[in-house]
């Protein structure tokens, strides 16, 4: 090493020479501070200043400011000690710590409010030996306390200790945002362990007592260990605090984020839909006005519209109310079609659409005529005597068409609507089980909608349409309610002016609606419902009627549907008759139409293949077009009644009249009488009556009285799977039994109906027309029936009666001579 030295005399400068020398202090620092004899003491509140650290201080007390002024004017040295109680305003000598720090004041700045800010630099530890004065500020004699800078004897151990405190501080600094990163790196650049401890202690929040202890410790190793403990504790507190804060923050951020997003969404929606929204409400307002509703409905609609205008488009309720307003506004509150009351025109339309059905047409024309007259008289301004104070003025009508399938009930409804110029709405009630289907669902339910009646009216767009309720006899009924009872209100002219659908919840006047219902059978229609309707029976068609219907309506229609010209397909009358007789067996004309359609399609195929241009189906060529006859005409009666014990009954079913073969047989036994064939209660009684009656007439029938002891008698009514009931097979059963007992076969051309009493009286029965037609259709030429039903024959078409022999009987005695072979009078 080469030390360079210049003697003072060697350096000469303009004004002064400068002494350049080898300075002892080049490596040895900080020892040159002279302690003044009396050091001004500045007590600090809640703060310990360490040696070798710079720190800003604020001084506000008057005596402290005075102290500062004097110190700055002098050597700028001050002793800093912590006051024992940080709450104390002006601590006296006993109230400050004994050990403090010598410091110099580097900067001073007095703020406008009078407080003084200082930048001070801690230098060394001092102990206060004695206070020399307390006024105007504290002054004391002090001595320097040297630091014991040996961390550990072992360098490695001290290195480890230093590193661990550095690590701990770095970790802590990450948790405390108030410690800037450059301060951290500055602090860590310090190599001297003592300085490291002091600078770390300055940056970290430490309890006053701990800070004072740190200052007072002599050994730097102890200081490091103590500080390490404090840092660890602080780190744990901070990290826990941060975790709590983070959790809270997360929670808050989430809810805040949600809130912001929602607000934004609302704002966007407002921007997008404000116009639409207003337009929609305005639209509804106009609709409500235009609908010309009754007061109640108008109020309700306006109330709902008011609610709608207060709702956001996104609200769930919005859609519900909108739908409701849609409904209520689109109801035809004030729209009605003008009835065409031209009777002649109506008659023409009805005749055009339907063959026969004279009674019904007459009833409809009557209805129209009454309407017409009333309409004319009302304009006379002479309504007083027609005004009924109790009963409502009714203009609707409720008709019930009962008859077998395929006789034209539904299409009749359509033609009535056409002839009257009303809207026609048809709905099938078959299988409806829920009362709400009729009367609607309460608006409170999700997906609620009005009932079918209101829906139908809306579809009709008129408040006086003709509504056809099909299959009213097939209404279901279960735990959800009874739709038939709901229909009571609809179909009662007294009540339906105030029909209140659950969904609309305002009264809608149905009294102008013309209801037509259809059913196959009256029996399953609940009594109260049936009472409200005017029943019109439609019977099956006769062969002649069917033939006419086929020629006039069905053949042209099938031609149309197959795209054929008139000249391309025609049927002779005989061919039609043969189809009716041998290919169909029904009261209506549905199968007949199907058969005709089949022939038409076959012809179309052949034309397409180029085999034929046109054809006329004749009686002989029917086989070619339709295949083998499905029913052997007139053969069944023959076959079935060949053997004794079988007689032919006429029955009435929902699908029209039919024949039943009642069979009886005998066998050895003596157990009496039994019957089978799913007989209803009434029919079982009929069977018992027939048995008892024939037994009581054993002598007349030339039957051995002992017969009943030796033989069992069994009566059966096929088909076994079909339930049957009613008393009208009484005389037939007795005839079958008589045939069995006498061994004389029943005549195959005779069919009969009539209720039998025990005394042999023959009582009247229902459904005569259908029964006679069925007997005729199936090939019987003699019909035995009660005398008291004679009037019913008026309904039977002349041409049928012409072909039949009708035997009217009052007593069973008159039956057997006609019914059984050999014609001998048995009675007598």
């Amino acid at each position: 090493m080469t030390f360079w030295q210049q003697r003072p005399s060697d350096v000469t400068v303009a004004h002064t020479k400068i002494d350049i020398k080898l300075d002892d202090e080049l490596e040895d620092e900080g020892t040159a501070i002279d302690l003044p004899e009396e050091l001004p003491i500045l007590p600090l509140r809640g703060l310990v200043v360490y040696p070798q650290t710079a720190i800003p201080l604020t001084v506000g007390q008057e005596r402290s400011i005075e102290l500062v002024d004097e110190v700055v004017a002098g050597d700028r040295m001050v002793g800093l000690v912590a006051s024992k109680d940080p709450n104390l305003g002006t601590p006296g000598p006993d109230e400050v710590q004994q050990i403090g720090t010598l410091a110099t004041i580097h900067r001073l700045f007095r703020t406008p409010d009078g407080t003084v800010r200082l930048l001070i630099q801690g230098l060394q530890r001092i102990r206060i030996d004695e206070f020399v004065t307390t006024s105007p500020y504290l002054k004391a004699r002090v001595t320097r306390i040297p630091e014991d800078e040996v961390v550990f004897a072992d360098d490695i151990e001290s290195e480890a200790l230093v590193r661990s405190i550095v690590d701990r501080f770095t970790a802590l600094a990450e948790l405390v945002p108030s410690i800037p990163q450059e301060l951290v790196s500055n602090a860590l650049d310090v190599e001297d362990p003592l300085q490291l401890v002091y600078s770390i202690a300055t940056y970290v929040r430490i309890d006053l007592d701990d800070a004072q202890r740190l200052l007072e410790m002599d050994n730097v190793g102890d200081k490091i260990r103590h500080l390490l403990q404090l840092l660890t504790k602080e780190y744990e507190v901070l990290s826990l605090g941060r975790k709590i804060q983070e959790d809270a923050q997360q929670e808050m951020e989430k809810s805040q984020r949600d809130y912001f997003l929602r607000e934004q969404m609302k704002a966007i929606q407002r921007e997008l839909e404000e116009d639409d929204d207003q337009k929609e409400i305005e639209k509804f307002r106009q609709l409500i006005e235009a609908a010309n509703m009754p007061e109640e409905a108008q109020k309700e609609a306006e109330r709902e519209l008011n609610r709608l205008s207060k709702l956001s488009v996104a609200a769930a309720e919005y859609g519900v109310i909108r739908t409701y307003l849609d409904w209520i506004c689109s109801m035809p509150w004030d729209i009605r079609t003008e009835d065409k009351l031209d009777i002649a025109n109506a008659r023409a339309i009805l005749d055009e659409d339907h063959y026969g059905l004279t009674d019904i047409k007459v009833r409809i024309l009557e209805f129209l005529a009454v309407r017409k007259l009333r309409a004319e008289r009302e304009t006379d301004n002479d309504g007083r005597d027609r005004f009924d104070p109790v009963r409502r003025d009714r203009s609707g009508a409720i008709l019930l068409f009962v008859g077998p399938p395929g006789v034209g009930k539904t299409s009749l409804g359509a033609s009535i609507a056409r002839s009257m110029g009303r809207e026609f709405i048809r709905m099938s009630l078959g299988g409806i089980r829920d009362e709400s289907e009729i009367r609607g669902f309460r608006r409170t339910y999700i997906g609620a909608m009005p009932g079918r009646i209101i829906q139908a009216i809306r579809r009709a767009k008129s408040r006086n349409p003709l509504i056809m309720l099909d299959e009213i006899d097939k209404l279901g009924r279960d735990f959800r309610g009874d739709p038939a009872s709901a229909l009571l209100e609809v179909l009662d002219p007294e009540q339906n002016a105030e029909f209140r659908d659950h969904y609309l919840d305002v009264a809608f006047d149905l009294s102008d609606v013309m209801f037509i219902t259809t059913a196959n059978a009256l029996e399953t229609i609940p009594g109260p419902l049936r009472d409200r309707m005017e029943i019109i029976q439609l019977s099956g068609y006769t062969e002649q009627e069917k033939q006419a219907i086929a020629a006039q309506y069905l053949v042209p229609r099938q031609r149309r549907e197959s795209g054929l010209h008139t000249q391309e397909l025609s049927f002779t009358d005989e061919a039609l008759l043969r189809i009716i007789r041998d290919y169909t067996r029904e009261a209506g004309v549905r199968s007949l139409e199907r058969e005709l359609g089949k022939a038409a399609r076959k012809l179309v195929t052949q034309i397409a293949e180029g085999q034929l241009q046109s054809t006329t189906v004749t009686e002989e060529s029917v086989n070619e077009w339709l295949g083998k006859p499905r029913y052997g005409h007139r053969s069944e009666l023959q076959d079935r009644t060949d053997i004794p014990g079988v007689a032919t009954a006429l029955a009435w079913t929902q699908v029209g009249g039919d024949v039943l073969f009642i069979e009886a047989t005998k066998m050895k036994g003596g157990n009496g009488f039994q019957y089978t064939g799913q007989l209803g209660d009434i029919m079982q009684e009929s069977a018992k009556i027939a048995y008892s009656f024939t037994r009581s007439r054993a002598v007349d029938l030339q039957v051995d009285p002992a017969f009943y002891d030796a033989f069992d008698v069994h009566l059966h009514v096929p088909s076994g799977a079909v339930p049957k009931d009613g008393p009208s097979a009484g005389i037939t059963m007795a005839t079958a039994l008589a045939s069995l007992l006498t061994g004389r076969s029943a005549k195959s051309n005779v069919a009969m109906t009539g209720e039998l009493t025990l005394s042999g009286q023959v009582l009247p029965v229902g459904g005569i027309k259908d029964k006679v037609l069925a007997g005729h259709r199936l090939g019987a030429d003699t019909i035995i029936m009660p005398l008291k039903n004679e009037n019913d024959l008026d309904d039977v078409p002349e041409e049928v009666l012409d072909e039949l022999t009708i035997v009217l009987v009052e007593h069973f005695d008159e039956v057997l001579p006609v019914a059984l072979e050999d014609g001998q009078a048995v009675a007598g």
């Binding site: 030390f3 360079w4 004004h15 002064t16 300075d23 080049l26 700055v72 004017a73």
Partner: protein
């Protein structure tokens, strides 16, 4: 102005400049007596220190701002390359201490690179 060092000595502002043949160190420190400076040079370390005492004021004066440092000061420079120790000169004029340190001639620079390149 730099903050005071850890022993409380202040650091006046200074420049270290390299010219073609020398370093020039300038320290801005007013109100000094020329003999109050202590200059020391050890290899490439130059230490400038001293003590400044401003004239005292009447008691009961009240300071509103204090930025002028007094008392001990100390500056330490590490020179980028060796200087000719015997040729250093300094003067103090108008509150500026000016120290000139001529570069050392190459004769005394130990030459090492040859042996290193042989190893490579």
């Amino acid at each position: 102005m730099l903050p005071p060092d850890e022993t409380g000595r202040f650091r006046p502002p200074s420049d270290l400049i390299a010219t073609e043949d020398r370093f020039i160190v300038r320290v801005e420190i007013a109100a000094m007596r020329a003999d109050a400076f202590r200059l020391a040079l050890l290899n490439r370390r130059l230490v400038v220190s001293g003590h400044r005492q401003l004239p005292g004021l009447a008691r009961a004066s009240s300071y509103h701002q204090v930025e002028i440092e007094t008392g001990e000061f100390r500056l330490e420079f590490v020179l980028p390359k060796p200087v000719e120790e015997t040729a250093v000169s300094a003067d103090y004029d108008n509150g500026i201490l000016n120290i000139e340190l001529p570069f050392r001639q190459s004769r005394t620079v130990p030459v090492m690179p040859e042996s290193r390149s042989e190893k490579d």
